[in-house]
């Protein structure tokens, strides 16, 4: 029998690597393996409290006790903390905001002082959100100590509101080391503060904004609008901006990305408060005055407003993968704008780079087939075209109309779902 090393013979540093993939609760259980292991878990540089469900006073108290005891053990040893990840499911608002959050804030205030690099805070509540008159808000208040944590490399937050911040000096606001920023359902009481935050993240690589709503007023926020419009993010490689309504959004700040997911219906470059006759039923043709060239873009996912698609394609010389969807909103014929007729010029990426194309929510209008037909006719290296019919539409009807279309690429396969 060959001599084998035991994992237990490895140095602490190596064992930490395994422990760091466990949740904190699991890591703590290793403390009874042997005397050597009593304190080994303490120096694991990540704290991970995920898959936590709080549905009773008992579970809430037990969880609080456990987090405090973990933090106390680490604090006593004076260790820095690399990452802090909380993911909690609450059964109702009372447990979340009255019984749990005051403690969550305390924990965050502790961990941000430990040169924290990765912060991930998620929570969800089984009840629908309701207005809380005591807090004058729907969402819990974000602990402002987070904004002072200058060592952050990644920040992922969901379901907070950032309010009551006084105007902060530009110099101190933001995260100089931040590479990843994911905001899901984050509400800034003052849009200006979000602009300041984003402009304070010069090395950002990955940006995700989901379900947020912000407007800047041309009258009151002119300086912030100027800052926003001149924002550059030279290291940005990935951006996902969906279900997000923003005014004055600077598309050119995203120009270095390799992968982009964009929900264009709700982005516009002008002040929405100026458009009195612009409402949901009659959205104006949104033209971007300034679509930058996306030199590195290979994967594009576009939701809503197909009228912009061809214009966009002319600005993505290296695009390999395109995905289009409309979302749940029914689009009227005149909203498709330019795509009422086949485009005159074939975008360079379509003829020489595009390998896969997916188009969802195709309905019965003739004009909706113009784009897939145009791509099939001109995409010389296209390998896969997937078309999904809209929910009221028969797949066979679309198949009948698209299958006979001439294909520029001999190897192209058409799938209709």
């Amino acid at each position: 029998m060959r001599r084998r090393n035991r994992i237990n013979q490895l140095p602490d540093k190596i064992l930490h690597r395994i422990l760091s993939f466990l949740t904190t609760k699991e890591a703590v259980t290793t403390s009874i393996l042997s005397k050597r292991w009593i304190h080994l878990w303490i120096s694991v540089p990540n704290l991970n409290f995920t898959n936590i469900t709080i549905d009773s006073i008992k579970s809430n108290n037990k969880f609080n006790e456990s987090v405090y005891s973990v933090l106390a053990s680490r604090d006593g040893a004076g260790y820095d903390l690399d990452g802090f990840h909380l993911d909690i499911q609450y059964v109702n608002h009372h447990f979340a905001y009255r019984r749990s959050f005051p403690h969550v804030v305390k924990w965050i205030n502790i961990v941000v002082r430990r040169n924290l690099k990765h912060l991930n805070l998620n929570h969800d509540i089984d009840e629908p959100d309701t207005y809380d008159p005591e807090r004058d808000a729907y969402l819990p208040q974000l602990p402002t100590s987070i904004l002072t944590c200058r060592t952050l490399v990644s920040l992922k937050l969901s379901r907070f509101s950032v309010e009551g911040l006084l105007y902060v000096s530009k110099v101190e606001f933001g995260f100089p080391c931040l590479k990843t920023l994911y905001f899901d359902t984050i509400y800034f009481g003052c849009g200006r503060n979000f602009v300041l935050l984003l402009c304070g993240c010069p090395v950002l690589e990955d940006l995700q904004l989901l379900n947020s709503c912000q407007t800047l007023s041309s009258r009151q926020d002119s300086e912030a609008i100027q800052m926003f419009q001149s924002l550059t993010l030279p290291n940005l490689t990935r951006a996902e901006i969906m279900e997000t309504l923003w005014s004055h959004f600077p598309l050119k700040a995203l120009s270095t990305v390799k992968s982009l997911s964009l929900d264009t219906l709700k982005l516009n470059t002008h002040d929405q408060t100026d458009d009195e006759d612009d409402d949901e039923e009659n959205p104006r043709q949104r033209t971007y005055i300034d679509i930058p060239i996306f030199h590195n873009l290979t994967h594009l996912k576009f939701k809503n407003s197909w009228g912009l698609v061809v214009q966009m394609l002319h600005h993505c010389p290296k695009l390999q993968s395109l995905e289009l969807s409309k979302g749940s909103r029914h689009v009227r014929e005149d909203e498709l704008g330019n795509s009422a007729e086949e485009p005159e010029l074939v975008p360079e990426c379509v003829s020489s780079c595009l390998k896969t194309c997916t188009i969802r929510d195709i309905g019965g209008l003739q004009s909706e087939l113009i784009l897939p037909t145009f791509i099939l006719k001109n995409a010389r290296i296209l390998q896969t075209m997937k078309v999904w019919s809209g929910w009221m539409q028969k797949k066979s009807e679309i198949e009948e109309k698209l299958s006979p279309c001439p294909k520029a690429s001999a190897t192209c396969q058409l799938f209709v779902h």
């Binding site: 994992i7 993939f21 699991e26 703590v28 403390s31 009874i32």
Partner: protein, 160 residues
């Protein structure tokens, strides 16, 4: 003993000899990912068969398979899931120790995660056996510690 006559470094292969005397070929670019191997190449030269005393013929081919995929940039979550699918806990442990010895960082990280996943909710006794840990607590010491950390032991299986 393989003596490659090719001139370009990217197609050059390195010969590795396991602790039980078998010889395997690996591309130079894959060898670069294993820092221990690279150090030996730097010291001994790339025409000599590199001896790996602590790695054996059972696990080296699997490691080579992983890095073959890595240098073509094809490692995906699906590939990694497939890679460990038919391995039992002990086989993963052997690979992990080999990856540690070879200083093969990417494989090491992946296997650390896999071991953590496998040990999730396993009993303390199982984990002791797996890591090769000798229990040096008295029964009193152990039960006291369990009580102190009671909140963390909910949901952990007990061995019979």
């Amino acid at each position: 003993m393989a003596q490659e006559a090719s001139s370009s470094t990217s197609s050059k292969t390195i010969s590795l000899k396991t602790g039980d005397g078998e010889i395997f070929e690996i591309e130079a670019s894959a060898a670069k990912q294993m820092k221990t191997v690279q150090r030996l190449i730097d010291d001994l030269g790339d025409d000599i068969t590199i001896p790996l005393h602590n790695v054996f013929s059972k696990e080296l081919p699997k490691i080579i398979e992983y890095y073959k995929k890595d240098i073509t940039g094809e490692i995906t979550k699906d590939f990694e899931a497939e890679f460990v699918k038919d391995l039992n806990d002990d086989e993963v442990k052997v690979l992990f120790l080999a990856a540690n010895y070879l200083d093969a960082n990417k494989l090491f990280e992946f296997l650390s995660q896999n071991i953590a996943d496998r040990l999730e909710s396993k009993s303390v006794e199982y984990v002791r056996k797996y890591f090769g840990v000798e229990n040096d607590f008295t029964p009193e010491e152990e039960s006291k510690l369990r009580e102190e950390r009671a909140w963390s032991f909910r949901g952990i299986k007990e061995d019979e």
